[in-house]
Structures are given as C-alpha cells and as structure tokens.
Amino acid sequence: MAEVLVYVDHVDGAVRKPTLELLALARRIGEPVAVALGTGAADTAAALAEHGAVKVLTHDASEYADYLVVPKVDALQAAYEAVSPAAVLVPSSAEGKEIAARLALRIGSGIITDAVDLEAGEEGPVATQSVFAASFTTKSRVAKGTPVITVKPNSAAVEAAPAAGSVEELAVTFSAKATGTKVTGRTPRESTGRPELTEAAIVVSGGRGVNGAENFAIIEALADSLGAAVGASRAAVDAGWYPHTNQVGQTGKSVSPQLYIASGISGAIQHRAGMQTSKTIVAINKDAEAPIFDLVDYGVVGDLFEVVPQLTEEVKARKG
C-alpha cells in the first residue's frame, strides 16, 4: 500500500488535534508515515501510532527553533526522498502552508491549501475546498507531481486505529538557505485555559456590540459555561478589546465548530469567511436586519447585555 507523509504539528511532543485528523484522512489514501521535528519529536510517537501512523520519522536540532520555516522544509524534503510517498499532508496553519508550498516547488508538485475534506480518486486524492467566503465548494486535485495538500482543522473526525508507529531517526542535512531568517526573540502566548479556537467544538464570539474590553467578561462567562473557545470580530480586535489571536474571519482564524454563537456581530463577508462552515450558528444582535441572521439556525433579536447573561445563567442551571 502507498505511503502518505503526514507533517506533525506538536508542542514539545504533545500532538495537536489537527494532526490526528490528518492521520484519519491519510488512511483513506494509504499508510500514514508521520514526520515530527524539533523538541519532543520522539514523544509524539505513542499518540501517532494510536491513530494510525505505521512509522514516525523524527529529527531534533536547534535550527527548527532558531530559524524560520526553511529548516522544516529541508527536513520534510528529506522525509519525502526517503519515503517516496503518494501524497504529503500538512496541517493548514500559516506556517504549515508555507512549508508545504516550498516543498511542493522543490519536488515539482502542485499544492492545494485549506482542504476541508479529502478522498481517494482515480487520478490521486481529491480535495474539497470552501472558497469565496465559503459561498462555493470546489473539488480539486494536484495535476503534476506528488500531491501536497494542507488541511484545515476540524475537517475530519479523529479515529483510533492502532498501528506500529515505529520510530526512526530521520537524516537531515540543512541547506545553505536554512539559516537565512533568524528568530531573535520569542514570546510564547499565555494559555487562557480555554480550548484552542480552531479546534474547539463550541466558539462564542463577540463583536463591536460588546462595546469595551471589560464587557468581554460577559462573552467569556458564556464561553466558560459551555466549555467553549472565545472569538472576536475584527472590529472588536481593532478597538483593542480582545487579542488578535482570537480574531475570526478572513484575516484571522477560520473556525468550523459544532456550534458558533455570535454576539454583537453584524456578519460582514470577511467575518463570514471564517465561520460560515460551522455546523450550527446562533446569533444575538439588536438589529433584526443584521446580515448574520441570514446564516443562523437560531437568532435572538435583542440586547446582548440582557440576553447573554441570562443564557449563561440558564446554561449553568441546566448543567447543574
């Protein structure tokens, strides 16, 4: 059976959920071989084996943290040459897309980014994408070379599928260009204890209607009652009320949770681009004409300062 290379996104050995989803998709096309790089790379093996990796290629070197992107491209290329896979799958993060693109160029392949589904096809894997702010779905394939495809979080269910997951050290020689862009400083993001925005099953977002940084406590309280992640519109982020890392939309995160709750958000096309594929959409807005109501499964026309706290209380009461 053909092997499929899966690039592993992990934090010090803890495999992030989108990679486990990738393994489920990879198994539709062939046998997943995982590539894990950097600090803790070898610690990823157990989780990857549990979810179907037949092999885990690992490599650690200080270059991965000290220089931008290129060392990882060199390593993925080394893995590609060692394995000769039928396809290469990479999580669709900002960095993942850059790594995938440079690899594709080096190996003479086409690249598809931001797939939301993947299936085996007669002429190679067929990727589903959601385009023009999710108003269209397309099906595409790579026409030249080995398909390189990046896949968005929440595109497949995580499946347990125990496999050997034998760890092998990958031999990597860094290219002359690997040290071109130096990382001279790094400030890690502080954890909020809430689920990761792109991975969360429920996202509760606030917009300009929240009207102030301090009022975001109302949004956070609802999120916490539901075990949800917190999102924000660009208007709320630009006003300085909430961090940019929480922005949902075209230039922020693209989310596709089971439930999306928008409060005080009008539903501009650029915001919709990042949340329109959510399974269930709920909105609270005092303007009955707000475009967000075109998307909703359930909407409340009302003042979020009344509706949201009442909802939070009710959720808490029901959850006991």
Partner: protein, 261 residues
C-alpha cells in the same frame, strides 16, 4: 545606494460583490468589479514607509493579471509608489500559485530588487503561499506574516505573531517580506497623489520579455486542476425570536434541544 523595493499587488474581484466561477472553472474576473486587493494595500503602505525612512529608495509595484489589473497599479501609484510593472499575456489565463510565483520571480529579477514586499494573502485565492514561493525561487530569506517591519543597514527586522508565540525575526537583504493587516492602516490616495499617478511610468511585459514559455503557465499547464464547483446551498432559514425578557432562556432551550447542554 538606492534601496529598490518591489511590491507585489494583485487585482481581485470585490469580495462584497457576487463572486463566482467562469465556465472553465477559473475565477470570473469579467463580471465582477475588481480592485487592488485590500490586503496588498498594507504591503504598499509598509513599502512607502520604509522608503520614506531610507536615504534613497524606489518603490515599484508589480502585478500579474489581465488588462483591468492596471487599476490596481494606478491605485498603488496614487498612494505614492514610484513606478509600475504590469505582466500581461493571454497565455497566463488560469495560471495557479506555482505558475504565478514563476512569473513574479522572473519579473522581480528583471526589475532588480533589494526587498520584495507582498500582502499576507490574496483576497480571492486566500492561499497565502506566494511570498514563501518567491523566497524559494529567488533564493533569498523569507520574512513573512509580519505585523511590524523595519529596514536598517541592509537588515530587515519584524514581528511575526504566530499561534504559539510572537517571534522577532531578522534577515539580511535581499529578502522577501509579507505583511499582515495588523501592520498599520494603509493611507488613502490624496488628490495630488491621484494626479501625479497619471504621469508615473507603467511598463508592460509579456511572457517573452521574461523568457517564459507558454507551456510553463496557464490553465492547461497548471499544477492543480479544479474538477467541480458547486454553490453552497443557502442555509435553511432558522428560527428568529425577538427578546421580550426571555430571549436567553429561549436560546438555552434551543441549545438543549440540539444537545449542546
């Protein structure tokens, strides 16, 4: 010595218009109004600021696109760029990201550069890969997705706000930079700028000017193929209630009925 900055700008269909696909499954660029991608305005803005802070600098804006793409160049010129290059060729229709990066890279080399500045992503394709591809093709450092950028003494520095951390980056010129919409509001063209832009030079190059064969670009030769396109079914109309004191409770009832609580 003059700092030569090339800004890559894309002409895109207006996102607030009715965007759709043409019969050959490429993006329809005829029926929808186009404009300079809003995300590339940030690139133009940073280029102008870097040029203003340099002793001697020249900002060239470059686009690969159809006849109408000149509008995007005009806008960038009226913001303050010095000159423009338009790569246009019938054989370019349907070129994908890998092909576009080839054309841009050849044009950038022909123009001469110390610094390339791109937007974070095009608003139609939204891939966000062209800057990385340019760095790979040109063989120079990639300093991408910056929310802050500066150039001094032949070194480009910037801040990249990633998911896990905010990173400070540094590279020597020549380099390829891309900037995000967090990098600072783009200026509006002034009346003077609009008038001045009319006199600024716009060069037109075709594939032969860049020594690119027709077989290397275009829809037929693309590295990816779109097989099918479907309009997403409109979401079925949901229930909308007016809050009369019980809105939060009604919403909770709905969430419970959907097993979210």
């Amino acid at each position: 010595m003059s700092l030569r900055i090339v800004v890559t700008v894309k002409y895109v269909p207006d996102a607030t218009g009715d965007r759709h696909f043409a019969d050959d499954l490429t993006v329809d660029r005829d029926d929808v109004d186009g404009l300079l991608s809003e995300l590339d305005e940030y690139a133009v803005e940073q280029a102008l600021q870097i040029a203003e802070n340099a002793d001697d600098a020249e900002v060239t804006v470059l686009t690969v696109g159809p006849e109408d793409a000149k509008d995007a160049l005009r806008k960038a010129l009226s913001m303050g760029a010095d000159k423009a290059i338009h790569v246009e060729d019938d054989d370019l229709h349907g070129t994908d990201a890998i092909g576009t990066s080839l054309v841009l890279a050849k044009a950038i080399e022909k123009a001469g550069y110390d610094l390339v500045i791109s937007g974070m992503a095009s608003t139609d394709g939204t891939m966000g890969v062209v800057p990385a591809l340019l760095a790979e093709r040109l063989g120079v450092p990639q300093v991408t997705l910056l929310s802050e950028v500066s150039v001094e003494d032949g070194t480009v520095k910037g801040r990249r706000d990633g998911d896990a951390a905010s990173e400070q980056l540094e590279a020597s010129l020549p380099a390829v930079v891309s900037v995000t919409d967090q990098s600072g509001e783009a200026r509006y063209p002034s009346f003077k700028g609009i008038m001045a832009a009319k006199k600024k030079p716009v060069e037109s190059w075709d594939l032969s000017d860049l020594d690119i064969e027709a077989e290397e670009v275009g829809l037929e030769n693309a590295w990816t193929a779109v097989q099918a396109v479907a309009e997403r079914p409109a979401r079925t109309a949901g229930t909308i209630v007016k809050d009369e004191g019980e809105g939060g409770k009604q919403l909770a009832e709905f969430l419970a009925s959907q097993k979210f609580i």
